[in-house]
């Protein structure tokens, strides 16, 4: 091997072959959640609360049941009793018990012979509500006198004296803030807010469920993680977990929002009540927006100290996060990641998880990180401006690297923040001259990534081709990555590998495709499974040759004697060994079951240029650059795709997207016309640079890349708008009216 090649050389990894499921997906043949039917199938519909907060006094379904074609009505009484913790939270969220906790909370459901009859029938259900005072704002929900969502929901961590809506509390940090701030030449304090944003997957939740009186069930659904679905449904309905088989459909986007359940337990309950007939349940878009998880909103106070030359001396942040009517706002991640990009000696975080009358928040791409980044990266930028320093230089000066102690405690292994900053600095986009009303913003972001429970199997077929089964649904091309890694490990063509997503009965448990883990963890599992196969294949060759298995090496799809001492034999191909499999000892397969822990975090830096129309306040994104560390890009096109998609979602969150609640506590924008996600004409091309600082914990150096990309855009856009207008905005989203008002206020001041 050449002296300069510290990195392994690859034959397949890093190439850009067509994805294996491409044909299915461009011809309309791929089957998503709502695309399947069963003989004798019923259709479900869910009745939802029109109140933000109300006692449910009585539910009378007699008129609905009298309608021809109606086969079952379920309420909370049809679910299991005695649940606790997150199992109870999920059950309560899928079907309200004593109280409706938010506008859109499910209170009853119907199964009927057609979707139209089911929809007619839910209108015939009479519900007696006693409306209660409600609260849909995080600061208001913590204030004295705010209506209590659920008494006793707080856990051990909450100090005495806080409102019962504060259900979890975090505090972490190190050093001495006073000492740190005393060393600063400039200390700044700011209040920031971000609004709840929805994951906005284009495919609404959908499932086809069947559950018999014998407690055996089958479920087909669109999900990021079918083992999670199985456990959650089994708990909600009181089933034995193994009696339920869950098969994932193709999935039309998830971004974290499909790591939990909303309708699946309801469909199963309807099926059970309708005598085991299959029930199809599909959400409408407004149901998705009203009743599935957006991410939390945040209200934050950030303080930072800096020396004249840009060294951060101390930082503190207080984060109040609204996770809807249940505990679980991602305040843990927010506080851990808030200042994690930087080497700061004196640092302190306080976090509040706050309940309110909004839907139960769900994970959304790097949950908690974008809000944290909005505070940190905005204040750094404002300080850089005040001190007359370059925003990338200031980040370089403070950036973490291998061996530096993270703000959350441990020392960093090899990470690529500095590399992304340097690549951004030398990119053409950073030197484009700007015109009037234009501004440039930069920001960095980080996501830790994830390993988690992982099972996979790799089986050799009779002709020497390879069947790979993983448990992580393919949302963005991961079948291609798996096939590339298997091809690389075996040294066989990419086309000779077929990747399947196994159902819950065909593998051990798996965590979902979340936490940027699919390519890392399932990929690692595939590589290890392939290695086990290779060992067995080599052994078969050794036995055929009558030599020691250790004297066989595997190269480019062939078993070969390791050297002249091992003996003179013609290399034996995988096809040849596989063809003789049955007569040489039987099936050859490999598998992997573990929770890999060697995931490496991924840092990214974004540079954006905007133009702000001073007449209307409208922001146009002129150019956008994403630089991110992928460790090793398995299929670069899909890595770029993750970067671009994350950036686009972040741009939407920064500029347009928000949950708007009226005085009545009802969601005012539950359709895509009013909950406005970026469209093609809102965006420019999104330039990408893949930085590769290999993850030392992965055989091919892979880092998860899915989530980091949504973290920098919120502050990057705000920083660019500040540069363009001279006005600092600390509240998202930066809609034209808000920006215009800010510009006018600054003029008048």
């Amino acid at each position: 091997m050449a002296l300069d090649s510290g990195k392994p050389k690859f034959k397949y990894i890093g190439t850009r072959p067509n994805r294996p499921d491409g044909l299915d997906k461009v011809t309309g043949r791929a089957r998503y959640g709502a695309d399947i039917s069963a003989p004798g199938m019923l259709h479900g519909a869910i009745l939802r609360s029109p109140h933000a907060h109300a006692k449910i006094l009585k539910i009378d379904a007699s008129k609905a049941l009298a309608l021809k074609g109606v086969k079952a009505v379920v309420t909370r009484a049809d679910f299991a009793d005695g649940l606790s913790g997150e199992d109870w939270n999920i059950q309560e969220n899928c079907m309200a018990g004593e109280k409706a906790l938010y506008d859109g909370h499910a209170v009853a459901a119907v199964a009927a012979t057609s979707a139209l009859i089911a929809r007619d029938a839910i209108k015939l259900i009479d519900v007696d509500y006693e409306p209660l005072p409600h609260v849909t704002d995080v600061d208001a929900a913590m204030a004295e006198g705010a209506p209590v969502i659920r008494d006793g929901a707080a856990d051990y961590s909450v100090p005495e004296g806080l409102h019962p809506n504060v259900v979890r509390y975090f505090e972490s940090g190190r050093g001495d803030l006073d000492e740190g701030f005393a060393k600063a030449d400039l200390v700044l304090k700011r209040h920031y807010t971000t609004e709840a944003a929805h994951q906005g997957y284009i495919e609404p939740h959908a499932c086809l469920a069947q559950l018999g009186a014998d407690g055996k069930g089958e479920l087909w659904c669109c999900t990021q993680g079918h083992w999670y679905v199985r456990q959650m449904c089994a708990a909600a309905l009181g089933l034995e977990v193994s009696q339920l088989k869950v098969t994932p459909s193709e999935i039309g986007g998830g971004f974290g929002g499909k790591t939990t359940v909303f309708i699946d337990p309801v469909a199963l309950a309807l099926s059970r009540k309708a005598g085991g007939k299959p029930v199809k349940l599909v959400m409408s878009r407004s149901e998705v927006l009203r009743a599935t998880g957006p991410t939390a909103s945040a209200s934050m106070d950030i303080k930072m100290g800096m020396t004249k030359d840009g060294k951060i001396t101390a930082a503190s942040g207080t984060y109040r996060m609204q996770g809807g009517a249940f505990p679980g706002a991602p305040v843990d991640e927010t506080t851990v990641l808030a200042f994690a990009n930087y080497n700061i000696e004196h640092v302190h975080h306080v976090g509040y998880d706050v309940m309110s009358n909004r839907p139960k928040q769900a994970a959304y791409r790097a949950p908690g990180a974008p809000m944290a980044a909005f505070g940190t990266e905005s204040i750094i930028d404002e300080m850089a401006t005040q001190l007359g320093l370059d925003p990338l230089e200031i980040r370089l000066k403070n950036a973490v690297k291998e061996g530096v102690r993270a703000t959350y405690g441990p020392k960093f292994p090899a990470v690529g923040l500095i590399e992304t900053l340097e690549a951004a600095q030398s990119h053409d986009n950073y030197a484009v001259p700007l015109g009037p009303n234009q501004g440039r913003g930069v920001a960095s972001g980080f996501w830790l990534n994830w390993g988690g429970d992982t099972s996979a199997s790799v089986a050799i077929s009779e002709d020497g081709t390879v069947a790979v089964t993983v448990g992580t649904p393919d949302i963005g091309g991961s079948r291609a990555s798996m096939a590339l890694m298997a091809a690389e490990a075996f040294g066989i063509p990419y086309e000779n590998v077929r990747v399947h997503i196994g159902d819950t009965a065909s593998l051990g448990i798996n965590e979902p495709t979340h936490g940027s883990r699919a390519t890392y963890a399932s990929g690692l599992a595939v590589i290890q499974s392939a290695k086990e196969c290779i060992q067995k294949l080599s052994k078969r060759a050794a036995e055929a040759w009558g030599i020691d298995p250790d004297a066989v090496i595997w190269e480019d799809g062939f078993a070969r004697p390791s050297g002249p001492n091992a003996g003179e034999f013609e290399p034996m191909s995988i096809a040849e060994i596989a063809g003789n499999m049955s007569s040489s000892g039987g099936p050859i397969s490999g598998h992997f079951e573990a929770s890999p822990e060697t995931y490496g975090g991924s840092f990214g830096t974004h540079v954006v240029d905007v133009e702000v129309d001073p007449e209307t306040g409208r922001t146009t994104v002129l150019r956008y650059l994403v630089v991110q560390d992928a460790g090793k890009a398995i299929h670069p096109s899909y890595v770029e795709g993750q970067f671009q998609g994350g950036a686009a979602q972040g741009i939407g969150w920064a500029l347009n997207e928000e949950y708007i609640y009226g005085e009545d506590g009802r969601l005012q924008n539950p359709i895509f016309l009013d909950y406005r996600v970026p469209v093609a004409s809102d965006l420019p091309m999104i330039d990408t640079v893949i930085v590769e600082v290999p993850n030392p914990g992965h055989p091919y150096g892979v880092r998860g890349v899915g989530e980091t990309g949504i973290t920098p855009p919120l502050p990057a856009i705000a920083n660019a708008i500040a540069a363009a207008t001279g006005v600092r905005f600390t509240k998202l989203p930066l809609t034209p009216p808000r920006v215009l008002a800010g510009i006018k206020a600054a003029k008048n001041a």
Binding site: S172, D332, R365, P367, Y408, P410, F412, G452, E597
Partner: protein
């Protein structure tokens, strides 16, 4: 004895200590010993924590080995999206 670093929100549950030395060869044994020493930490540990051993964050692996020299930090329970 390996030492566990607590995040500051936990310290008041551990008599104000920031670093607690406990016996144990695995994360599980250490966490059990930590709770034995400071029973008020039990709900926090039960609610779930992530443990960083020498910079590597181990979300929920009680069987994972630790040694005298390991640098161990408790972190909030982390999840993915």
């Amino acid at each position: 004895m390996p030492e566990i670093h607590l995040w500051s929100g936990l310290r008041h549950l551990a008599g104000g200590e920031e670093i607690v030395a406990v016996e144990g060869n695995t994360i599980g044994q250490m966490l059990d010993a930590l709770v034995a020493k400071h029973p008020r930490l039990e709900p926090a540990i039960k609610a779930g924590v992530s443990v960083a051993v020498d910079g590597q964050i181990k979300p929920n692996n009680r069987a994972s080995k630790v040694s005298e020299e390991s640098e161990i930090f408790l972190l909030q329970k982390l999840r993915g999206g």
